[in-house]
Subunit: 397 residues, 2 copies
């Protein structure tokens, strides 16, 4: 781990100071003399924030840096899933190379941590997870990667998947994923009973994709709540997307949010502009842990997205109809501290004793930093400068 | 007007060719020898598209390039209008300087034409319009600007505004604007009767802001349709935003769109992520003219936006839930040819005899060009290179 004296930065857009870093940890804020051996960097008065967190992405899917993937297929969820599973190898989406590109892009744009769902299915077994593990090793000290064992193709409709999930958790995947127990799996009780049993067996958290909208998604949420209670998994379950919370029924959504807060369920949002999405301000009022994520970027599912959590912050902010400086500062919170809260990261933040993982931001205020489109001036991980002006110290393969 | 030999470009992502430009017009596509005097540029195989068009913006409002404008005011439409009107001078939003920044940014990012609503109210009279006229003169040959005389503060609720609109049209504003006849003016018959009478008197088109949602917006649309028929103004009215067309009532929206197509009403959309917006694909099927716009960028209303029609294309595409290459190519159409159709631009397009107004785009295909985030390699206006790599040949003041 590294020592560093970072001069003239403004923590969360506050007063300028120096930050002293010893052995990869924040040792002090103030004014410091450099000792001879210590590297010194000049922050030039930039805002400094803790590392951004992409708490919902898919490192194994992107075509970033590959030839443009033409997609004129029908936009049906099940069709997207099956096409990708059956064609990803032939298209050349190598999980290690592509996840390197994706993760390096995120680091270059200020991220320090990633939670990535990685597909596990009977076609690929654990080979995609293994590709991301290679990337995790290769990027040690640049960006941290947590892996969700993710049954993208379904659990009940894909016999053999349960055994693969079990093996993935045995081998060290940190979190268990799930997907649309009604919409994809056609058997909500079946999938959810299995997921909770596996999670309890391995002592891992759950993070379940829930694209189901309106009453259907609300029903599935209620099934999830029942199983959290039954298994004592309060504080250990996350719901990604949670489109049902964007339904146009204020009272119903309020009841769901009350339960979410009571059971300390975390919500991950991507601010999907064409979907019904949860209100991050309403969740904040209820005290719910909320993180943000890029989701898939430029993959066989769709063309959108960049490996940049500030780009995502803009999308989340605009989709939520936020305009005020106070609200925009909260968007920044969602893509940083919010993600850390969801992932239960230790020693995260801008305080003495925390890991020296942070990014400089352009702009005068936190709100300005969210809307500004300039590259991050500098990104630091464990006290080492890992990117400057949007360019990481490691090259994309 | 200028001559130019532009080598090695791909019109609309087709086969590479040279484009010969004589006197500011496209004289030929093929392979040409340069004569001695003619400037030659190498397009390096980039896609070439006609100039992008911002067909709905507000050049008089932005704080671009000024100190960050902190905004923690309540998000009420009437409040935003009144705050801006009463404070814009004190904040220092000089209409000429700020519209220069805004318009130069658009040109640098590939736009050749702007339709800008400009506030006309009893506090400022025509002074804001005059600032934009200065900008239009200063940027002649860089970007074309059309002005909508826009009663931002309302017509019926702001006595004296009608006379100012009348004067603005007399002095040469090309289009007459309007705003939420119910929501802002509280008198839909009053405002619309006056607008149509003024438009007929001056022989100008109408482009009316309609933020009204659901049944209210649909009602106002019907009032507009009645007056188009009564005044023979088929093909001469545009509705900006048209949020009512995003309401969740397929049949009702279908009937409105049928009328819109029948009366050749144009629709302008900004793809506002937090609003109900018209479906550009449904409007395309109905044969409706649809353009896109950045709307206000970083102003007292809100912090979002950039002077970049490809950034706006992304927002429109994501909000419309578009993913396929065919759909994305249509998004590009909306922010180029679509805007030209709305503004009835003459000699616009990539054909012999058309004005040599175009932009190079990065990417392999039109869809790729829409999602890519690189600066435009080169922008040409009237046969002259006016921007390279996102930087215009004129500096922002």
């Amino acid at each position: 781990m590294h020592d560093l004296l970072l001069r003239n930065v403004r923590p969360m857009a506050g007063e300028s100071c120096d930050i002293l870093i010893r052995n990869g940890k924040i040792a002090g804020f103030g004014t410091f003399e450099a000792d001879g051996a210590m590297p010194v960097e000049d922050g030039q008065g930039a805002i400094i924030a803790p590392g951004l967190i992409d708490a919902h992405t898919h490192l194994d899917k992107t075509t970033w840096g590959m030839p443009w993937h033409v997609n004129n297929r029908a936009a049906i969820l099940r069709g997207r899933i099956d096409f990708e599973r059956e064609n990803r190898k032939q298209i050349g989406i190598d999980p290690h190379r592509q996840s390197m590109r994706h993760a390096i892009g995120l680091a270059a744009n200020g991220a320090s941590h990633i939670r990535s769902h990685v597909d596990i299915d009977t076609t690929h077994g654990l080979s995609l997870v293994e590709g991301i593990w290679q990337t995790r090793d290769a990027l040690k000290g640049i960006i941290d990667i947590e892996i969700v064992a993710f049954p993208q193709s379904g659990v009940m409709v894909m016999p053999g998947t349960v055994e693969l999930l079990d093996e993935a958790l045995r081998q060290g995947c940190e979190v268990l994923g799930g997907i649309d127990p009604c919409g994809i799996d056609r058997d909500p009780k079946g999938q959810l009973d299995i997921l909770f049993a596996l999670a309890v067996k391995h002592g891992v958290d759950i993070d379940i994709h829930l694209h189901e909208t309106g009453d259907l998604g609300a029903f599935t949420m209620e099934l999830i709540f029942e199983r959290i209670r039954a298994n004592g998994m309060e504080g250990r379950v996350a719901i990604s997307h949670a489109f049902a919370l964007g339904m146009n029924d204020y009272l119903r959504v309020g009841k769901l949010i009350d339960e979410i807060a009571r059971l300390d369920v975390a919500i991950l949002t991507t601010g999907a502009p064409s979907a019904t999405v949860p209100s991050i301000m309403r969740l904040k009022e209820a005290g719910v842990r909320v993180g943000g994520g890029c989701d898939g970027i430029q993959d066989t599912w769709g063309p959108w997205g960049q490996p940049d959590m500030l780009d995502r912050a803009k999308i989340i902010g605009m989709k939520n109809g936020l305009r005020s400086d106070i609200e925009l500062a909260h968007v920044l919170h969602v893509v940083s501290q919010g993600g850390a809260d969801v992932m239960r990261l230790k020693d995260y933040g801008l305080a003495i004793g925390c890991n020296a993982d942070f990014t400089l931001l352009t702009g005068e205020t936190l709100a300005h930093a969210v809307v500004d489109v300039a590259p991050r001036p500098m990104v630091v991980k464990g006290g080492r400068v890992v990117a400057r002006q949007g360019k990481a110290i490691v090259e994309m393969p």
